[in-house]
């Protein structure tokens, strides 16, 4: 299989998995009428107090065994955000295989920017 197809399938599978998990989370939310000690009405208000600042990505997994719908929704969103990251990572491999030194470095810089925004900035800002 061509490496371009690998990339294409990775993106497609990433989107399908994340959409599925998000839908599961939404269904759970409507069944249980609450999640993470918030009521559905609190969660669904247009200017809701429930937002990503109170959901740390590393804590989301601990909520999964419990019927916490919001943890599933956030997991789905995280997978969605991760698909372009995976795409860039595969890009580095692709250019390295083509022995294209310049573009391997360029793609590595793009990957660094992503990692900087996702992991380093939270530490720097200290939130």
């Amino acid at each position: 299989m061509d490496f371009n197809d690998v990339i294409g399938y990775t993106l497609r599978i990433g989107v399908i998995i994340s959409a599925t998990i998000i839908i599961i989370g939404v269904i759970m939310l409507f069944i249980f009428n609450s999640s993470n000690n918030f009521t559905l009405n609190q969660i669904a208000a247009p200017n809701s107090i429930v937002n990503s600042s109170i959901f740390k990505p590393n804590e989301i997994f601990s909520g999964l065994p419990k019927p916490y719908a919001l943890d599933y929704i956030y997991l789905g969103l995280m997978i969605l955000i991760a698909t372009p990251v995976a795409r860039v990572l595969l890009g580095i491999i692709q250019f390295a295989r083509e022995k294209n030194k310049l573009y391997t470095i360029i793609t590595a810089i793009v990957f660094f920017n992503l990692m900087f925004a996702i992991f380093l900035l939270p530490l720097i800002i200290g939130k």
């Binding site: 371009n4 197809d5 990339i7 294409g8 399938y9 993106l11 497609r12 990433g14 989107v15 994340s18 959409a19 998000i22 989370g25 939404v26 939310l29 409507f30 009405n41 969660i43 669904a44 247009p46 200017n47 809701s48 429930v50 937002n51 990503s52 600042s53 109170i54 959901f55 990505p57 919001l70 929704i73 956030y74 789905g76 969103l77 969605l80 955000i81 991760a82 698909t83 372009p84 990251v85 795409r87 860039v88 890009g91 692709q94 250019f95 294209n100 310049l102 573009y103 360029i106 810089i109 793009v110 920017n113 992503l114 900087f116 925004a117 996702i118 900035l121 939270p122 800002i125 939130k127």
Partner: protein
């Protein structure tokens, strides 16, 4: 206020509609989404742009998986320009965090309105030529390997092309990334401008490569949005699902509609929303 289930259905329907409009105009769903959410659903612009930024990743990844098969996207050119868009997106997202924390939301409304109105020009003067005029390669063409070829099914021929002025492309892309981080949109129109106008690439290459880049740009900004709490789960979930469905339907319709009148209708919607956003920013009703 709508009860939760009705509210959720409204979000999905509106974002599906935005996804269709976005696919048909090539502007991406977010362009229509944020104004409709803020002007008509009473959603704070912080949450509207957070949900919209997430949704652009969904459409980008969804469409990119199809485009890669066509081999029109130029991954080299896209990745090269991503250095600028991701940097711009980080700066833009941090800027908007400053704006929101100082309650200067009106700036975002006004900038959004201006961006919408500026798209009108792009929509009306849409490049009539499928292929760019031939140019002499410059030093960046060689250094950054700005060339490629693809098979054009509409023209029924193999198209070979080369790009120039990499540095100008990078400058425009930084700005595109900044706008994306600032407003929570993909800013595909600016990306296309950078490749089509500055780098002299064929329209098909520009649009597919721009689409591919949007996901990476948005992922960079969305991590900062997450950190500052702009991602509201209920809204983001409904929007992501709706836009995905809408973009899928949009691409199916796209093949059949090429009518000019439709373009004018969309342009009218852009003007209408753009003026309303500016008025809201200036403190008038809506």
């Amino acid at each position: 206020m709508l009860p939760p289930l009705e509210f959720f259905i409204a979000i999905v329907l509106i974002s599906a509609l935005s996804g269709i409009l976005g696919a048909l105009t090539g502007l991406g769903g977010a362009t229509f989404l944020v104004p409709i959410y803020t002007l008509y659903l009473g959603i704070p612009i912080v949450y509207a742009s957070g949900a919209s930024l997430i949704s652009t990743i969904a459409t980008s990844s969804g469409a990119a998986s199809a485009y890669i098969k066509d081999r029109i996207t130029n991954v080299r050119i896209g990745m090269g320009l991503e250095i600028a868009t991701t940097s711009g997106s980080i700066v833009g997202a941090l800027t908007v965090a400053y704006i929101y924390s100082h309650h200067l939301q009106f700036i975002v409304y006004i900038v959004f309105g201006i961006v919408l109105l500026s798209q009108v020009y792009v929509q009306l003067t849409k490049s009539k030529f499928e292929l760019p005029r031939p140019v002499k390669p410059d030093w960046t063409t060689k250094v950054f390997q700005l060339y490629g070829k693809y098979y054009d099914a509409a023209l029924n021929q193999e198209v070979e092309y080369l790009g120039i002025r990499w540095w100008l492309g990078e400058i425009i892309m930084f700005f595109a990334g900044f706008i994306s981080g600032l407003l929570g949109i993909g800013s595909g129109a600016l990306k296309v401008l950078g490749m089509d106008w500055a780098m002299n690439l064929p329209m098909k290459v520009s649009t597919t490569t721009s689409n591919f880049m949007i996901g990476v740009t948005a992922a960079t900004g969305s991590s900062i949005y997450w950190l500052f709490g702009y991602i509201q789960p209920f809204l983001a979930a409904g929007t992501a699902i709706g836009v995905l469905v809408g973009a899928f339907i949009g691409t199916k319709i796209l093949v059949r509609v090429t009518n000019r009148t439709i373009r004018y209708i969309f342009t009218a919607i852009l003007v209408f929303l753009g003026i309303q956003m500016i008025l809201r920013g200036l403190g008038y009703g809506f």
